[in-house]
């Protein structure tokens, strides 16, 4: 009897011990493929990796990668420069016909990929602010770059959708029910971010790669923002700052060199390296390029009505546009290297370049009544394109005429890049007037894309744009 009791006691103790060991047993170490956020921002090197991660992901994010769901393609289709070859691609045709429905999956990709990049920027900013281990210089550098990325993403969101939720934290509890902010509020945030970025960032490109943003990338985007906001003076002075950096930026005489890796005309580019290696050149090439052998694979062609506006000896027509006899169609030929996995990479995807800055300054000057200054800038672009100078051919051009010429020059210079035409037509309130002619379904409310239905389903505080 006695022995049984003691055995019973042993069991009780054993079980108690088992129980205690349970508590420790379920501790697990963190997985080898994840790094906890605090650890990421505990050293300069890993924090830098977080910024590199954003640049890499820009080539994966739908809105910025130049591929089928990018601003370049979709907003391009919404305007009047390009058209989709395959009419059975309904989700793309809806952009081209300005007949978007809120369930369009491409529309959701555009929206959500931009917000995903914004999250990364916000997460990086929070990590940097909360870190005590980063050196001051790295902190400032990272803050500047992340603020630029955030501003850049919001710039496209606000232009494509109008009022949008403005989120500057990673707090999903609040963010998930965020309602839309006024367009002015979004622009205030963009300007604030870009001003800080331009202030803290250095003038050099990190590692000499124009895929890392510097002070002038921030300045260039800020000048575009001011053009959109009709702050002509600021737009002029900011673009002047960029144009003045002649040691860093130059218009290239040979149009075939503009889109090459780290070209002198580039202010900011996105590298296909972000793909992780399978793709060694730009997505724009695969979307626009007419294949040397197999013509039928190009997805996007140029509209005849667009090609017609080029003057006969425009070098851009000769160098940036190709014609295919069999297809009897024109194709954008800015990016020339077909997308294969041949390395090294020859072309980067262009986001900001010097030519745009000249055109911004030309327009800002024209708006302020500085006709000669505007013509001077415009002629720099025209002369590079091998065209006659306005100063020679139309010395008495009126302000209004000049503005029309500038807008048309923008169309010819910046086609098939980042939806410039779509943004321009909306900015100058001519979307209806211009697109109404070529697009039978056009309605005034089409200037904004619908808030994706899926998003409204999950966030009841998001209301819809008019017309959807």
């Amino acid at each position: 009897m006695k022995s049984r009791l003691s055995i019973n006691n042993t069991f009780v103790i054993a079980i108690a011990l088992l129980f205690l060991s349970c508590e420790d047993f379920v501790e697990v170490s963190s997985p080898n493929n994840k790094l906890i956020q605090q650890d990421v921002f505990s050293t300069d090197a890993t924090a830098r990796s977080a910024m590199n991660g954003i640049y890499n992901q820009l080539f994966k994010a739908a809105f910025s990668n130049g591929s089928r769901s990018s601003v370049t393609v979709l907003s391009g289709l919404s305007a009047d420069n390009i058209r989709n070859i395959n009419p059975s691609n309904y989700t793309r045709m809806e952009f081209e016909e300005n007949e978007l429905i809120p369930d369009n999956p491409n529309n959701l990709y555009l929206w959500s990929s931009a917000y995903n990049i914004i999250y990364m920027a916000n997460s990086l900013l929070e990590g940097v602010y909360n870190s005590e281990n980063l050196s001051e210089g790295v902190k400032l550098q990272l803050e500047g770059e992340a603020r630029f990325i955030r501003a850049f993403s919001y710039f496209y969101l606000v232009n494509l959708y109008g009022e949008i939720p403005l989120l500057t934290t990673t707090e999903y509890n609040n963010n998930q029910l965020a309602s839309r902010s006024l367009i002015e509020e979004v622009y205030d945030q963009i300007i604030n971010d870009l001003e800080i970025a331009a202030d803290v960032l250095g003038t050099d490109y990190l590692n000499g790669e124009r895929t890392n943003v510097n002070k002038y990338a921030a300045t260039a985007l800020l000048s575009r923002v001011n053009l959109h906001l009709q702050n002509w003076e600021d737009a002029e002075s900011l673009s002047s700052q960029v144009i003045a950096e002649t040691g860093t930026y130059q218009l290239l005489d040979n149009l075939n060199d503009v889109f090459l890796v780290n070209s002198k005309e580039a202010i900011w580019q996105i590298s296909p390296i972000g793909d992780g290696g399978f793709i060694s050149n730009t997505n724009e090439a695969s979307m626009f390029l007419i294949h040397p052998v197999f013509s039928f694979v190009a997805s996007i062609q140029l509209r005849e009505t667009f090609v017609e506006i080029f003057e006969e000896d425009d070098l851009r027509f000769n160098n940036w546009i190709s014609y295919h006899n069999e297809e009897e169609a024109f194709f954008a030929y800015k990016y020339k290297v077909w997308n294969t996995s041949e390395f090294p990479i020859e072309e980067y995807s262009m986001v900001l370049r010097l030519a745009e800055q000249y055109l911004i300054r030309a327009e800002a000057r024209a708006r302020q009544g500085n006709i000669s200054g505007a013509v001077e800038d415009l002629d720099i672009i025209r002369s590079r394109a091998g065209l006659s100078l306005i100063a020679d051919t139309r010395p008495d051009i009126s302000q209004e005429e000049l503005l029309d010429v500038i807008i048309e020059e923008r169309r010819k210079e910046l086609f098939a890049e980042w939806g410039h035409r779509w943004l321009d037509l909306k900015r100058i309130n001519k979307a209806g007037e211009v697109l109404g002619q070529s697009k039978p379904m056009w309605e005034e409310t089409d200037v904004y894309y619908p808030i994706p239905a899926e998003e409204r389903r999950k966030n009841p505080n998001l209301d819809q744009n008019d017309g959807y």
């Binding site: 790094l35 890499n56 994966k60 999903y172 972000g274 197999f294």
Partner: protein
């Protein structure tokens, strides 16, 4: 007669031997102290009513732990006191007690006992119970019902066989994971609804394994590597009483798979072989070229649009007379299946073994040469010490399978719906055709055709259980398990598979997954009777660790096709990823079962669980249940008043279980490497506070047996409430991601009725007819969700309705002007969105079940199972006019005689159609009755087989999904959401016992 003589000779020999032995014993005894009781040797033969020997009958000396088992000839030999009693028992036969009474030979005939079915031992996981005594709800299928089914995963073999268990095929490719739901959907997360799988005591991760091949949609079933014919029984634990002992993992039910064990004395060999073929049993009724083109032309005419090469390439560029039956092309083939297995078993009184090996292969119905193969091996070893105090049981299961399915090919409904005059897939030289597709701006739909993929998995599951009786009532037992799963997949993508214009280099993608797990479960078992009171208790602990890893990469730029797969020859390795996760789990559990006079039962189970899947503050929780049963037929007043009632039991249970099926490390705010070099990025949102899902289960049941158990019936009524829902809570993507893991204040209720019935309709010497039936009436409802309007689920779920619903527009008929569909703009805001989707369509099964009949006539046996389901499903493709084939209902539209909209190819028509497929138009009755399995067995006469030295020789024919009756217009009413579904299979084979 000869046989009888030879047997008599044996008997005589045994008797003589026994006498000699006895004499020597007696002589021995005489010289030592006299035994309290005189021992003698007894031998004999046990036969059934037909005079056939029964091997494996347990023969014990009453009130001792001495015992033996009859050999293949039904003979036994035991030492027993001359005044003792022998007890003969065997499953399915009435137990007989015979006093030794100085007899040296006791040969008997055992009578079959229908009521003894109630004594069948049921595996309840940590303990065993019987059909009679169980307080919980446990369903069971045995080898006989599943072993001949030509299926890859044993889960597929369960369809229609158990009440409350819903099995849906994963698809038509061999190896795809089927879906099994035990009493409905408990979790709002799809991946949170897997039951717990336990094979011979070892928990197996039930989540399907990722694949790049054609199995990618459903994933690979982790049970594929088991040999279906090596399974002794599958028990499904359903209610709280049965599942609470599994605590945090029992919420979705538990599936216990027990493999076969050796139990024969002597050695036996059993071999089986079958082969057969499978086809796709159904086709969509689609348009032929003439009809299709007529509709296309009508569309342009109706729209007043001039067809151009851009919008009408099928009319202007493609051959107008060409016709391809794409369905026939795609899945008109025949898949062959073959299975062979062999087992050796044997042993003596204390040790037994069983060793088996099997080979299984199955092809596919697609064009091209793809197949699935598996080889398995298994070993079971049981040993007990002579005094029965020490027990050892070892089980090893090993399986290797290879799935040669291709990845990335349009073997799906999209290809079936190609225009019937679409160009040829292949050129004359066998290469893929591109030109004619290309002029239409299309890619060849079988792009990727020359890809090959090879998925090889290895699965090893082992368990060692040791137990020792410390005191007569107390046993210490420990169960140790180790399992290893490894899957390696390589997909070769030669450039000839792709449009030459894309200049796709020769690529390969590689995926490998590993799952390793060990488990240790020390337990103390107590069992003692005090007069009428019997107590049965367990206290134990579980320690488990799982390590999962996954690795994937692509290798690209092989110089030639022959080098693909040889990574060293690749130009670059890209998209490399490596993930690993560690999951640890610890628990204490206990169970006390008390019964009074075999009449009143109470069963208490409890578990305290800890899991590393939760944040540090939320790691532990308690679960428990109480189950009771009252066998009222043991009461005298029932016995007197209702003599025809041979058995009656009322039972009830209530308790809680949990669910921790959610990704590991979700509580960490973490960064991972980007695909591009040198980058880190956040891959998800973190929530440090989430915790368990809790499922409270309530059940009452009634079981009765009539006319000496010839009829048995069971009714169960259950209600399971799953709350504290742990979900990948969907978030608007403005938060950066689509979801975050969190607990929701929501309750999902699954309730229902289950009915099980079995009867022995005819039982004569030559003819026997048995019927069993199960019916389930499940109901699923989101009962509660505070502030659902404010949540992200506002437009996904509706309180008061099931989870599996579709929110539809209110269809308001055809617009008289345009002829297009119109739907109601409920809130009149001019747009059609989720606020206008006011019609709620339930897509759950309303009723399902199975009815199985078994006829035995002489040496023939015929079994067939009908599965029946009542439900509604969807079927689209009713509109014509745009590029792509339609169902032939579009012809009626052309004739202006249908409910469908005007034939048109316009954007407006497409938009209207887009709304219409989200109305009640595509909803139709998808109820079906299906002949799920049918087996015809013929046992060759023993007299004949023994001439060849064989114990038994069986021939069989088996059919799977031979007939389906349904009004449904799609392919397979079981899988209305997707294409091809269940295959129709016929096999034939034979089995030989030596």
């Amino acid at each position: 007669m000869k046989n009888n003589y030879s047997r008599l000779k044996w008997v005589a020999l045994i008797i003589i031997g026994g006498v000699l032995f006895f004499l020597s014993k007696a002589a021995n005894a005489a010289t030592t102290t006299p035994l309290p009781l005189q021992q003698q040797e007894v031998s004999g033969v046990v036969e059934d009513q037909n005079g056939l020997p029964i091997p494996g009958v347990t023969v014990t000396v009453k009130n001792t732990n001495r015992g033996t088992v009859t050999n293949l000839d039904g003979a036994y030999n035991i030492i027993a006191p001359a005044n003792g009693t022998l007890v003969f028992s065997y499953i399915g036969f009435k137990t007989v007690e015979i006093p030794v009474d100085n007899n040296e030979e006791i040969s008997i005939q055992l009578e079959e006992d229908v009521s003894a079915l109630g004594e069948v031992k049921i595996n309840a996981g940590y303990y065993n119970t019987t059909e009679r005594e169980r307080t919980g709800n446990i369903s069971r299928v045995t080898a006989e019902e599943i072993e001949l089914q030509p299926v890859v995963s044993p889960i597929q073999a369960l369809a229609g066989r158990m009440a409350g268990v819903e099995v849906t095929s994963g698809g038509s490719h061999p190896g795809m994971a089927p879906t099994i739901k035990i009493r409905g959907t408990n979790s709002l997360r799809e991946e949170g609804n897997y039951p717990l799988y336990i094979i011979d005591g070892v928990p197996i991760n039930s989540t399907p394994v990722e694949s790049n091949s054609l199995m990618s949609s459903a994933g690979i079933d982790p049970l594929n590597n088991l040999d279906v014919s090596n399974i002794e029984s599958i028990e499904v634990l359903k209610d709280a009483d049965a599942t609470a002992i599994y605590g945090s993992r029992g919420a979705n039910g538990v599936i216990l798979i027990t493999t076969k064990k050796g139990r024969e004395i002597g050695t036996s060999v059993k071999a089986r072989f079958y082969t057969g073929m499978a086809t796709v049993p159904n086709r969509w009724d689609l348009l032929n070229t003439e009809e299709y083109l007529e509709i296309r032309r009508a569309a342009f005419e109706n729209d007043g649009v001039e067809p151009t090469e851009r919008n009408a390439y099928d009319l202007l560029l493609w051959d107008q007379d060409r016709y391809t039956d794409w369905q026939e092309f795609l899945y008109g083939g025949t898949s062959e299946t073959t299975n062979a297995n062999i087992t050796f078993s044997g042993g003596n009184e204390t040790t037994s073994f069983r060793f088996g090996s099997s080979y299984y292969t199955q092809g596919t119905v697609y064009p091209g040469d793809y197949d699935y193969r598996k080889v398995t091996g298994n070993l079971n070893l049981n040993h007990r010490s002579g005094d029965n105090k020490f027990n050892l049981s070892l089980s090893l299961n090993y399986g290797v399978d290879t799935n040669n399915l291709v990845g990335n090919v349009g073997f799906n409904a999209t290809t079936a719906f190609l225009p019937p005059n679409a160009p040829e897939i292949f050129n004359n030289d066998g290469s893929l055709a591109w030109e004619e597709w290309g002029v239409a701006g299309l890619d060849n739909p079988l792009e990727g055709y020359f890809n090959t993929s090879n998925t090889q998995t290895n699965n090893f599951i082992s368990n060692l259980t040791l137990s020792y009786e410390i005191f007569p009532a107390l046993r210490f037992k420990t169960s140790m398990g180790y399992s290893y799963y490894d899957s390696k997949e390589m997909r070769k993508q030669p450039s000839q598979s792709y449009n030459p214009a894309d200049e796709t280099p020769n690529n390969s993608s590689h995926l490998s997954a590993g799952r390793k797990s060990w488990i240790l479960e020390p337990q103390i078992l107590f069992e003692k009777s005090f007069n009428n009171l019997k107590i049965d208790a367990i206290v134990g602990a579980t320690f488990q660790e799982n390590i999962q890893n996954q690795e994937g990469f692509r290798a690209t730029g092989y110089a030639s096709e022959a080098l693909i797969g040889n990574i060293a020859a690749a130009e670059s390795i890209i998209n490399a990823r490596r993930e690993s996760a560690e999951y640890k789990y610890a628990a204490l559990f206990s169970r006390i079962g008390i019964n009074w006079d075999r009449k009143y039962y109470i069963n208490l189970t409890g578990r305290r669980d800890g899991s590393s899947r939760f944040g540090p503050n939320n790691r532990f929780a308690n679960f428990g249940a109480v189950g009771t049963a009252w066998i009222f037929t043991e009461e005298n007043f029932i016995k007197e008043k209702l003599p025809f009632l041979s058995f009656g039991k009322l039972r009830g249970s209530y308790g809680t279980t949990g669910n921790d099926q959610i990704g590991d490390y979700g509580y960490l705010n973490a960064y991972e490497a980007t695909d591009g070099p040198g980058g880190l990025y956040p891959t998800g949102l973190a929530n440090p506070n989430y915790s368990w899902e809790v499922n409270k289960k309530l059940e009452v049941g009634l079981e009765i047996g009539l006319f000496e158990e010839r009829i048995r019936a069971g009714f169960s009524r259950y209600r399971n409430r799953s709350s504290n829902q742990l979900v990948g809570y969907p978030l608007p993507e403005i938060t950066g991601f689509t979801s975050v893991q969190a607990n929701l204040p929501a309750t999902v209720e699954n309730s229902g009725w289950e009915f099980e019935f079995s009867s022995l309709n005819i039982d004569s010497k030559e003819f026997r007819w048995q019927t069993s039936l199960n019916v389930s009436l499940p109901k699923n409802e989101l009962v509660n969700y505070p502030d659902i309007d404010q949540s992200s689920y506002a437009n996904t779920y509706r309180v008061g309705y099931p989870l599996n619903i579709s929110l539809l527009f209110d269809y308001t008929g055809l617009d008289p002007e345009t002829g297009f569909y119109t739907v109601r703009d409920v809130n009149e805001d001019g747009s059609f969105d989720y606020q206008d989707r006011i019609i709620i369509q339930d897509l759950n099964r309303e009723l399902f079940g199975g009815i199985n009949n078994s006829f035995s006539f002489k040496n023939f046996n015929l079994q067939f199972l009908w599965e029946f389901v009542m439900q509604e499903g969807l079927q689209t493709s009713f509109d014509g006019g745009t590029v792509g084939n339609s169902r032939s209902v579009a012809l009626a539209t052309l004739a202006g005689e249908s409910v469908y909209q005007k034939i048109s190819q316009s954007a407006q028509a497409r938009t209207a159609y887009g709304y219409a497929i989200n109305t009640s138009i595509p909803v139709e009755d998808a109820s079906f009755v299906r002949l799920k399995t049918i087996t015809l067995n013929y046992n060759l006469p023993k007299a004949f087989t023994r001439k060849f030295g064989m114990e038994n020789w069986r021939l069989f024919l088996h059919g799977q999904n031979l007939l389906t009756f349904s009004e449904y217009s799609g392919m397979d009413p079981e899988r209305t959401s997707s294409g091809i579904g269940n295959l129709r299979t016929i096999t034939a084979g034979l089995e030989i016992n030596f």
